[in-house]
């Protein structure tokens, strides 16, 4: 499993993979917002955490399509599925998700504080947005794994993955934004939505890989 993780990470940071593209897309989304809503700094500070969350969500959806497709093209996926007796397929999917998150989504979380500066988010909000993204984005990857596994056989499943996954990630987005807003505005609490967000991540860490493994084994 560790070897699989190392292999996936190595593949993920090689040139030609989508890691940098995701960060650039995130940057583009955040840059477009002030042009759309106007450069009012107070307004931007208020919607800043939400914009960061939406940008990170869209950017992490972008790379999901490739989660299983490259492995299917060169036959690795068949080998992984056939070594069922050594490692559960669900566990393999979990490791692949974690590696995908490390290479594709962790950079997004890392650049969040800098992009937040563009949005005039106060320091406390920056910390909260980064922390909630760090805790919440794995859930997006785990849910996305189901969508990626379902559409693995389609030649151009990218848009379909986003359509299938978006309704399911709505709760993650709600509680992520609620927690980061709670850190900035006083009456709203921070801890309860943050704990629910953590619970969602743990819940989908079980459900997502299990359903994705079922899909991979049944559809191919």
């Amino acid at each position: 499993m560790l070897a699989l993780y190392a292999r996936e990470v190595k593949l993920g940071i090689r040139a030609g993979s989508g890691a940098l593209t995701g960060v650039l897309f995130f940057l583009a989304v955040v840059t477009v917002i002030p042009f759309g809503v106007g450069p009012d700094l107070n307004l931007l500070a208020r919607i800043g955490p939400a914009v960061l969350w939406i940008g990170a969500l869209l950017a992490s959806l972008l790379a999901l399509e490739r989660l299983f497709q490259a492995d299917r093209e060169d036959g690795t996926l068949d080998l992984l599925l056939m070594s069922d007796h050594r490692h559960m397929v669900a566990l393999t999917v979990l490791v692949k998700c974690l590696a995908h998150w490390t290479t594709g989504v962790l950079p997004l979380v890392a650049v969040t504080p800098f992009l937040g500066l563009f949005m005039n988010v106060p320091p406390l909000g920056l910390g909260a947005a980064t922390l909630t993204l760090l805790v919440g984005t794995p859930a997006i990857t785990f849910i996305g794994a189901v969508g990626a596994a379902l559409t693995v056989a389609l030649p151009r499943g990218g848009v379909l993955v986003s359509v299938l996954v978006l309704p399911l990630v709505v709760p993650v987005l709600i509680f992520g934004v609620a927690a980061s807003r709670g850190a900035m505005a006083d009456p709203d609490p921070f801890l309860p939505p943050f704990l629910i967000l953590s619970a969602l991540t743990l819940f989908f860490a079980v459900l997502g890989p299990a359903a994705a493994a079922l899909a991979l084994r049944h559809i191919d």
């Binding site: 559409t151 379909l160 359509v163 299938l164 309704p167 709505v170 079922l214 899909a215 049944h218 559809i219």
Partner: protein, 275 residues
């Protein structure tokens, strides 16, 4: 006309995929499995459908008449009448998803040959009922709440249900191989089932604009009987209508698959003659 006649009585040239999955289930004698033979299902559905559609029409007409005969609400006035269609639509939106989740289990666990036909046929009907529930709700909300739409917990979760329906429809249409599409849709349906309890209990968990449950409660319904009876009859009528539509859609889907298989067989035969 001759081709149509053939379709109805063609047990030998059934689609291969239905036959293959049937051979191992044929030994089981449970009653649900007796329906597994598509030809048998078509016979039964053909026998039931006229009665069922008549019953649905009759109950719907009765429900509609009762709904207009029922007294007006002392606060809402005549707008309360929209409840008699809004509540059945919303109930069917969830019922249909429950049915689809059962069908998904049928596909994945019991390999029931008709389960995936049922799921595929139910998805568009459910999507339409969900859209109607949202539309009637927002028509009622405009005079009552003063707005077409609010992002409250129940409205949002029903809207997410609508998106799930559309996603399932898109997925069943994107994969052209029926068995593969069936399994993919079944897995997606089961994952999306988390949303159903959220919809049901959203009005209890969050204190939102949509009114809490008033029919199915532990301490009995809080609606006055003069309003409750028309509602129940109307709900029954729409449920009968849903079952009728669902059976018809299943029948159409089976026929469509048979036509597809026959076309492929005849194309193969023509190819064999040519070479």
């Amino acid at each position: 006309m001759r081709a149509c006649g053939n379709l109805n009585e063609l047990p030998e040239s059934l689609p291969a995929f239905i036959y293959v999955s049937m051979s191992d289930t044929a030994k089981q004698t449970s009653r649900l499995m007796a329906l597994a033979n598509p030809t048998r299902f078509l016979e039964i559905a053909g026998a039931i459908l006229p009665w069922l559609s008549c019953a649905a029409l009759f109950v719907l007409a009765a429900g509609l008449w009762l709904a207009f005969a029922a007294p007006e609400d002392y606060q809402q006035g005549i707008t309360v009448r929209i409840m008699y269609i809004h509540v059945p639509f919303a109930w069917l939106a969830m019922f249909c998803y429950g049915l689809m989740a059962l069908s998904a289990l049928g596909t994945l666990v019991w390999r029931h040959p008709l389960a995936d036909v049922s799921l595929k046929a139910a998805a568009p009907i459910g999507a339409v009922f969900t859209a109607l529930a949202l539309a009637t709700g927002s028509i009622w909300g405009k005079p009552m709440w003063g707005t077409w739409w609010v992002w409250d917990a129940r409205l949002t979760s029903v809207f997410v249900l609508f998106l799930m329906y559309l996603g399932i429809i898109a997925l069943t249409r994107a994969l052209d191989e029926p068995t593969r599409a069936a399994r993919a849709a079944a897995i997606l349906t089961l994952v999306g089932f988390i949303n159903i309890p959220i919809i049901k209990f959203s009005v209890d968990w969050w204190n939102t604009l949509h009114q809490p449950a008033s029919v199915f409660r532990f301490d009995g319904p809080t609606i006055h009987p003069s309003l409750l009876w028309p509602l129940l009859i109307s709900a029954l009528g729409f449920t009968l209508l849903f079952i009728t539509l669902h059976l018809m859609a299943m029948r159409t889907e089976i026929w469509r698959r048979r036509v597809g298989t026959m076309r492929r067989l005849s194309a193969r035969a023509a190819e064999g003659q040519a070479s």
